[in-house]
Amino acid sequence: MTEQELIQGLRNGDEAAFKYLVDNYKDRIYNTALGVVQNAEDAEDVAQEVFIQVYRSIHSFKGEAKLSTWLYRIATTRALDLLRSRKSKKRFGLIQRLFGEGNEPVYEIPDFNHPGVALDQKENAAKLYKAINQLPDNQRIAFTLHKIEDLSYQEVSEVMKTSLPAIESLMHRAKQNLRKILEKTGP
């Protein structure tokens, strides 16, 4: 099935086309979401939301970008939304604790281990993920798409709707910041 046929099928509400889309892209979307949110259940939630949004708004997809680019864009946006809501819940929890309410402990992200990391690299990868958590959103997304989803800088620039030099600079800053964070926390 070509991309045009797939898009047409989705626009016609064809269930076979939708299943084809999910079967072909679920791993890429799930892996991207997992790289950003660092939690398997949340990543599945985000991946589901991505496909629901595609189903709902396929008529607004103009075809200016590739379908995969559009999917990655939705996935990263949704994943960042989830992180923001998680952060605001954490802040609210802290305020509640300050005023003596909400005695339950604030949810902290536990050490994350990506299932695709080699066994001998698990410990280092967990430290790197912890450092990635402290990066600004755009650096985090660029780093995740390039390192975890193995997208080229060109593909990352299309997903993030920016230029290739901007992505190169973003990746350079991301690596510098990660180095600083790791130096501060101790390797």
């Binding site: 679920k26 791993d27 599945e44 280092n124 790197l128 450092a131 790791l182 130096e183 390797p187």
Partner: protein, 109 residues
Amino acid sequence: MSIQNNKKIEEILNSLDGVKRAAAPEFFYTRLKARMEKDLLPAPVRSRILRPAYAFAALVLVLVVNAAVILKNNSGDVVAASEGESIQSLAAEYNLNDVSSLYDLNEDK
């Protein structure tokens, strides 16, 4: 910073090189379809009734019915009062209010 530390940081930074793509969980499509059916179906009537717009409309309806009943009762009093007046004038016209005249009539018999 020691060379040892630098080396360790480099190792950490490169730890994601060659990472394999994580696969979506099993039955992902089945769970997605179930969620879509739940999310995309029209909301049940019960939850629709509980929406603020419906609750407000119901409140307005109750208030309108109440106001209508009160107004109707008030105008009913006026009708009852005017009916009472007409009965009294009728009674006066036929001397029915004068109880003594009734006795007089009985005495005549």
